[in-house]
Structure formats: C-alpha cells, structure tokens
C-alpha cells in the first residue's frame, strides 16, 4: 500500500452540501467518508457514479473521481468503467426511483454479472427531487401528490429483487444507525463482486418518519433484527425474543420458553435462509409482524465479470499473441497487384 495517510476529511470537496437540512443523506455521506481511508487506496483510484435524484448529488461531495450521470444509468456506466478499469474501487449511488424504477433493468443485469462494485441504494420510499410522488417502494395505500386516493402498486421488496437477480452480496442498513451502516459498508467493500446495500433513508420533507419503527428509540428493539454472523436471531427488549426455524417456516419465540441454542443461527452463506430473511417484510402496523432485519443477509464468492473479461483478453493474447495491426488489416485472404 503506497497511500498517504488520509482521513475522512480528505474525502470532502469544497462544494456546499445542498440536501435539505435534516435529510438522512448527511449521515450516509458522513459514514461513507469515514470508512474511505480504510479502503487503503489513493483517492484517485476511487470513483463514485450516480444517476439522478436527491441521493445522486453524492459524487459532488466526494473528492474522488465521480460522475453524476443520467436517470437510472449509473449501473450501466459503472459496469463499463469497472470492466475497463478493474483495479478501481467503484461505488454506485442510487435511490429507489433511480435504481428500481427507471434503472431497474440495468440493476438486475449488473447483479447477475457480478461486477465488483458497491451499490448504495438510498431508499426513502418517495420521489424527493420531483417533490413527493410515490416510488416503487412506497407502501400500498400511501397518499402522495400523485396518489391522492392511495397507492395501488404493490411495492418492490428490494432485497428479494436483488436475490432474484442472483446478487452475491445483500445487506440492509439505516441512516440513523451509523455504526451498523459503517459495518455494512465495510463488509460490502471487502466483498469481491456486486454488493447490494439498501439503506433506509429518511426524507424529512416528503416522507418523514417512514422508518421510525426502525430508528425510534422506544420501538427499535422490538422492530429490528440485527443480523450477526454465527449468532442466534434475537430481538426485542433485552433480546427477549428470538426466531426459530420450523422446517422452512420462521416462528417468533420467547426466550423464556425456548433456549437460545434452538434459535436460527445466522449464516450469510446460506441462500435459502437469506431468502427467508428478505421476506421479513411485514407492515409494522399489522399485528404479529416479524421484525425487520438489518445487516448482511447474504454473501457468496463467485467470479466477477471484470475478472472474467480480463481473463479472456489475457487468454486471447496467449493464444494469438499480442495483436499485430498489420496482420489484422491483411486478413486471411489477400493478393497483390
């Protein structure tokens, strides 16, 4: 490592940060900047690529290479960048509208290819930049400017969607838990392959309190399930509750009646269990609902796209030799006049 000693501050730019006061984006920016020195990379080897939306202003505030591109296409652009320059650390900043609506197609294809990038999807369940229309993650029945009678679209479950697209790393974090957020960012960065990180982000102007159940001090313990590798799934005040697996059916149990040894032990390599965890997606208003999991759901090592592409170039050179332009131009059949 030849990097100079850098701190989080070194990653800030001279640009004024222009998100609304109180926006959850500030916390995310801060946590990202704070883990950047841990990458062990010089700033010039890092690139942030975003699409369009409030969150997509992010690259302007990072003193790395960056592109604030067009709506939904950060994933496509970052795929080209990473494929061309595998040695770079590439981060995609997107939102629920940018990544799941207009850019949904590129997102699923990036995930299946397993391009080694980190995707931070800021989910605020609303269109903020366009001032308050429902998004593909807004809940059914929600009243917004474009749904005065309530949303009738079934929302996406972003993590289930990512699993369906064969993402090799899936995690969830929230703006108001900086420690958890930093842990998840670190894990995503270490993962070789596409890291899909959904971050619940409060839009205090158009959708304030959307994630209160998971951040409110009084409710948080009951409503969140913090995933820790090799540890039993426990939640609730004093971790009094746990999750048990009955076949493939999860059940909430009280630790008063059940030993911690009999609980579901978190194993992020287990695809089936990770899928079940992504289905913990109940409406917190409905009685008997499961807590919402946070942390790393799933990680799997498999070849990355850019490595495979690099390998093909290498093999072609080994097989045919370094390209000779004169041989290429002459073709296989030629003649002289």
């Amino acid at each position: 490592m030849t990097t100079d000693t850098v701190t989080a501050k070194d990653f800030a730019t001279d640009q004024d940060v222009r998100w609304c006061p109180g926006c959850g984006d500030y916390s995310i920016l801060k946590q990202v900047q704070s883990i950047m020195p841990e990458l062990g990379l010089p700033k010039e080897d890092i690139a942030f690529i975003s699409g369009i939306g409030c969150s997509s202003r992010f690259p302007y505030y990072m003193d790395t290479y960056g592109m604030h591109s067009i709506h939904g296409r950060a994933t496509a652009i970052a795929s080209g960048l990473k494929a061309a320059r595998p040695e770079l650390s590439v981060w995609i900043i997107t939102g629920d509208g940018d990544g799941l609506s207009i850019g949904g197609n590129h997102l699923i294809h990036l995930l299946r290819r397993n391009v080694d990038v980190n995707i931070l999807l800021f989910n605020n369940e609303i269109y903020g930049l366009t001032k308050g229309q429902y998004s593909p993650t807004s809940e059914l029945g929600k009243f917004t400017k474009s749904s005065p009678l309530g949303v009738i679209d079934q929302p996406f479950n972003p993590l289930s969607l990512a699993m369906g697209a064969d993402a090799s790393f899936i995690a969830r974090a929230i703006d108001r838990d900086p420690i958890l957020l930093r842990d998840v960012l670190r894990a995503g960065n270490l993962h070789k392959g596409s890291s899909f990180i959904e971050i619940y982000q409060n839009c205090n102007v158009f959708n304030d309190g959307a994630f209160d159940p998971y951040s409110d001090k009084k409710r948080k313990a009951e409503e969140t399930l913090i995933l820790q590798e090799g540890k039993p799934l426990v939640f609730g005040l004093d971790n009094a509750m746990g999750i048990q697996l009955d076949g493939l059916t999860p059940r909430m149990v009280s630790l008063a009646t059940c030993s911690a040894d009999d609980l579901w032990i978190h194993d992020s390599k287990d695809h089936t269990k990770a899928w079940l965890l992504t289905r913990f997606f109940d409406d917190p208003k409905v009685a008997g609902h499961f807590p919402r999991p946070f942390g790393v759901f799933y990680q799997q090592e498999r070849p990355t796209y850019e490595k495979a592409m690099q390998e093909q170039v290498k093999q072609a050179v080994e097989k045919f030799g370094e390209g000779d332009l004169d041989v290429l131009l002459a073709g296989r059949n030629n003649w002289e006049i």
Partner: protein, 611 residues
C-alpha cells in the same frame, strides 16, 4: 466451345432463405476478388430468419457485380440469375437483362413450390412462355444431389443443404473461376464434421463437372483482372471494415477499445467481429439494452478507454439521452448507426439513409455532434478511423453513419500498412498546472484526466457546468456561454478536416451531384456515364456532414444546379439549405434498395434539359 471475354458481369444467386444463398454469394465474391476482378456485392434477405419456405417473401438473394474495369455499385440489371425455386425466379425476373441467362433448379419447381409462389394448378413459368426472352438452363439439382449422396451417412436434411454448392460449382465453371479457395473454405468450415465436408466438396465438384461435361453452353465467360492500382488487396465487408477501423484508431491512440452493443440488424456483425479481436486489448460488452450499451461505453471512456457503441435507427433513438450526457461531459465516444429502413422497426434488413436528421438533431437541448458517413465497405475503415480520431482529439461523442447496403456489401480493398496510419493524440491532462476539468485549448478542447491520475480527481455530470472548474452552475450567463462554447468546439473541427474535393468534374460544370453515404457508388457510375454522353456535371461526395468542410458552401454556390440523390425523403437537402441557402434538386428513393446509376442519370438529364 468458345470463351467470351466480358468487361463485367452481374450474377444474382437467389433461393429460399434456408438455401444458403448468402454463403454461396460470399464465396463467389471472394474467389472473384482473388481472381483480380474489382467487385461490389449486394446481399438482400428477408427480416425473418426462416421466412415461410418457398414463398416470395422468403427469398434471399446475393448479387455480385464484377469486372475487369473498376466497379462502384452492386450492379443494375443482372446477366445471370441462379434461381433455386419458383419464388426466387418470380421475385427477381424483372432484374434480368433481356436475353439474360437463368439457371434454374428444376427440383424447386414442383407443384408445392408453384403453389407457394401463387401459381394456379397447371401453370409453370418454365413452360408457359414467361421466359421466352431469356436463355434458360434447367437442372434438377435436387435429383442430382440425391443420387450423388445416396451413400452419404448424412440425413436427408443435411444432404439437401449442399444443393447451393452444386450451383456454385456450376457458376464457377461458367465464369472460369478457380475453385481452390472454396475447397479450402469448405475444408476449414467443416473440419469437425468430415461427412458434411465430404458431401459439400463432392456436390461442389459435381456442379463444376456437370457444367463442363454437359453441353449446355455455347459460351464460357472470362473476365480478366481489373486494372487496379498496384498494392496489396483483400476483400472487405462494410461492418468488418468499420470494426477494423475502430481497432486501428484505438491502437494508434494508444488506448484500448471498449465496444458495447445490443444485438440489432444490421449492426450486430460489428460486435461479432470485434469480439474476435480481444488480443488487441479489445473488450466487447453485450449489454442488456441499447441504453446500457452506450452507458457502458461512456463508463469505459471515463476510465480512459475509447468507448464505442453500434446500433441501427431504433437503437439510436434509445441512446439519445446518453448521447447528450457524453456531449455534456465532453468525453470521446463513437456511436455507429448502421441505418436501415425506418421509422420504428421499419425494414430491418433493407437499406435507407433516413437517420441523418436524427443524427444531427435528435437530442434534447443544444447538443451538436460531429457526423460522418461511410461511402463504401472499404471506406467504412477510413471513416471509422477518422471518427475515432475526432472523438479522441476533440473530446466529443461522434456519430458515424453507415447503412445496410454497405454494411453487408463487400469489395476489394487495398488495405493500408499500420505504420502509414496517422497517430491519434489523446489530450491527456498533464500535471504542469492544477487540473481544471473545463479549461480549454485553442480548439476549445478540454483536457482528459482519468481515474488513477493523482491530484486530478474531479466530478463530471449532466448538469450545466461552470466554465473552467466544471462545478455545477445555474448561472444564466454561464449557461449561454457554455452552450456557445460547446457548439464552437464542434464547429472548429472543420479546421482539422480536409477541404471538400471533387470526385469528378469541377466548378466549370453547371451541374453538381452531391452524394453522401452509400449513394456514392451509383452517383459515381452515373456521373461517368453522363460525362461520356457529354452532360457537363461534377460530383461531390460528402464524408463530413457535421461540420461540413469549410469550402463547401463556396463550392456549391458556383453551380447552376445542385442535385442531391438520397435514400430518404430529402434530408441532406435540409442541411444544405440550412447551412448555405443552396437551391437544391432532391432525388429521393425510399424503397429499401440502393439507387441504380440509371435512375440518377435520368434525373440529371432531366435537370440538364431545364438549364
């Protein structure tokens, strides 16, 4: 048996789309090129992979025009038509010269084939006098092949698929072609399928021998090698030339080529071709859609590769927003549009030049981009090289227009030596002064800093930029200046391209024909014929459509008549009038087919008469 010396000939192989006519035609072309003839080809096939068998809509054709003189079009009327079935004959009969030769596979004229080609019971063009003005040779290829391969281990389907080789062998004999390269081709192509190889070679030779031993002809034809400028030659197809041009320019710039595409007719062959050249550092990316393809190419350019993407009209429409981004962030990018019949899905396998105005104006906001067009299959190489040079040296996306006719057409190409190609210089940032992303040189070109360059971290994006710093700016005056500056940058490219020359004629002529793209060949032939007949006309062919060469307006102003033939409803005419207020006479053809030289000749004569 006499051998008759011809100056040129046009042969059309026509059959069902499963009959292998494209392969037959391209083999004939390659052998003819190796024979030393000049040539041009025109493959014409249906959009359906296997259109209904035996129907007129399912006919696939491959036309080869070759000669001992220079050839600039795929030919007008056909001398020899090979028809594998009734539909192939019916569809192409009007293309045949009076007293032309028809070689018919009688096996394709059974009751079923007649019915599929809409003949009523009892009617047959072979016997009803339809062909009385032509020479007809009838061979039951089906029967001969069946007999020949009766001991072959191949199944019936595979045996039947060798019929095209019989016709190829037959025509080789007729035009005195050397079978060697085709024998080598078959040995190579079917190296892993020895039975298929043996059957194809046997049938090909049977065709040659059949023509030799049956006394069907009074004449055999010889077309002597053309008087081509000395040099080393090869055959080149348009899409292939285009791919090689991209590779060559990337090498000359010292950059790796990153080509991203989504499969679309007739541009996919560029992706196929480039995917075979990974040892040149070429990366090919088959994207999930057209938008992702241009997005990935932009990402690669941001990373310091030369990004390129190729498509056809409908794909171009999808890429427009991303083109605007590339224009705004001023990164090099080559966008290839192999035009086809439009609008919408249009005529996917037919040619047209109707995307010129889309290339010029098809973006939101003020976003002028350089536009170049290729004239012939070998010109595709040069123009691709030039488009890439402009993209890199001027830090701008560039649109390169080709079309279905040249993309699939082939011609002999006096290929260049790598050392003779110009060097391309990317304007990389240097560490001498603090990096400012939108600081510009005298050509208004900004410097290129790529990730990994220390101390030059910067952000680009689609939002309006402040001059010099590239920071987001909503300032009114700044926006206007930036719009004007970006336009001036593109306009200034006129200083780095050659002045417009005449292809033939001069300002002494009262009439000038202005062609662009694939109308070059037909225009050139028409002009040569017209001048022979004493019609005083000049020919200008435009490679650069935006910006135009600096002297173009002054040149055009000196003619009484400016005639513009186009395969669209008059699009270059719009641009010429807009730029120079040039009064123009528009000759249009919107039939999915290239011009015939005769059509241009007739129009010019008609205009000449009004002078």
């Amino acid at each position: 048996m006499a051998t008759q010396l011809l100056e040129k000939a046009t042969v059309l192989f026509a059959g069902d789309s499963g009959d292998g006519m494209q392969l037959t035609g391209s083999q004939f072309s390659l052998t003819t090129a190796l024979h030393g003839n000049d040539l041009a080809t025109f493959p014409d096939f249906p959009a359906e992979i296997r259109a209904p068998i035996g129907t007129v809509s399912g006919v696939s054709g491959f036309k080869v025009n070759f000669g001992s003189t220079r050839i600039f079009t795929s030919g007008g009327k056909v001398d020899t038509l090979v028809a594998m079935n009734v539909a192939a004959l019916v569809k192409n009969l009007d293309q045949l010269k009076a007293n032309g030769l028809i070689i018919v596979n009688e096996g394709g004229f059974d009751a079923r084939n007649l019915k599929l080609a809409n003949y009523t019971a009892g009617q047959n063009p072979l016997t009803d006098g339809t062909l009385s003005n032509f020479q007809v040779i009838t061979i039951d290829v089906n029967k001969l092949v069946k007999e020949l391969l009766k001991d072959s281990p191949l199944g019936n389907k595979d045996r039947d698929r060798t019929r095209n080789m019989f016709m190829l062998g037959f025509v080789y004999w007729l035009y005195n072609r050397n079978p060697e390269s085709t024998l080598q081709f078959l040995a190579r192509k079917f190296a892993k399928l020895p039975d298929v190889m043996a059957a194809n070679i046997a049938v090909f030779k049977a065709g040659l021998h059949y023509a030799d031993t049956t006394e069907l002809f009074s004449n055999r034809y010889e077309i002597q090698p053309a008087q081509m400028p000395p040099g080393k030659y090869r055959n080149i197809m348009g899409n292939e030339g285009l791919a090689l041009g991209l590779v060559a320019a990337s090498k000359k710039a010292g950059l790796d080529l990153f080509y991203a595409g989504y499969p679309i007719t007739p541009a996919s062959d560029i992706l196929h071709e480039l995917s075979n050249h990974k040892n040149f550092g070429v990366r090919t990316f088959q994207a999930e859609d057209e938008i992702a393809a241009i997005g990935a190419a932009i990402g690669a350019s941001f990373g310091g590769h030369i990004g390129a993407t190729g498509t056809s009209g409908p794909g171009m429409a999808l890429k427009t927003e991303a083109m605007g981004l590339a224009f705004m962030i001023e990164l090099p990018l080559v966008i290839v549009n192999v035009q086809r019949g439009g609008p919408s899905t249009g005529l996917p396998t037919k040619t047209e030049q109707a995307d010129l105005l889309q290339a010029m104006f098809g973006r939101n906001g003020e976003a002028p981009m350089p536009v170049l067009a290729c004239a012939t299959p070998s010109d595709c190489f040069e123009v691709a090289f030039e488009a890439t040079r402009i993209a890199i040296e001027h830090m701008t996306p560039v649109i390169l227009l080709s079309d279905g006719y040249i993309a699939n057409g082939a011609e002999p190409w006096p290929y260049p030596q790598a050392a003779d190609l110009p060097t391309v210089t990317p304007p990389f940032a240097t560490a001498e002064t603090p990096y400012q992303p939108y600081f510009r040189d005298e050509k208004h070109v900004r410097q290129w800093a790529i990730p990994g360059m220390k101390g030059m971290q910067h952000r680009v994006g689609g939002l309006e930029k402040q001059e010099l710093t590239g920071n987001v700016s909503y300032d009114a005056e700044n926006h206007e200046r930036m719009v004007k500056t970006r336009a001036a940058k593109v306009a200034a490219i006129a200083n780095s391209i050659p002045e417009q020359q005449f292809d033939s004629g001069s300002t002494a002529d009262p009439i000038v024909v202005v062609s662009w793209g694939s109308t070059y060949g037909a225009s050139k032939v028409a002009l040569a014929n017209l001048r022979k007949e004493g019609v005083p006309c000049a020919h200008i062919h435009l490679r650069y459509l935006n910006p135009f060469p600096k002297n173009l307006g002054a040149l055009l102003a000196q003619f009484s008549k400016v005639i513009v033939p186009e395969l669209n409803d008059g699009q270059l005419v719009v641009l010429l009038r807009r730029a120079f207020l040039t009064p123009t006479e528009s000759l249009t053809k919107i039939q999915g087919k290239p011009f015939l030289a005769a059509e241009i000749e007739a129009f010019v004569k008609q205009q000449y008469a009004t002078l």
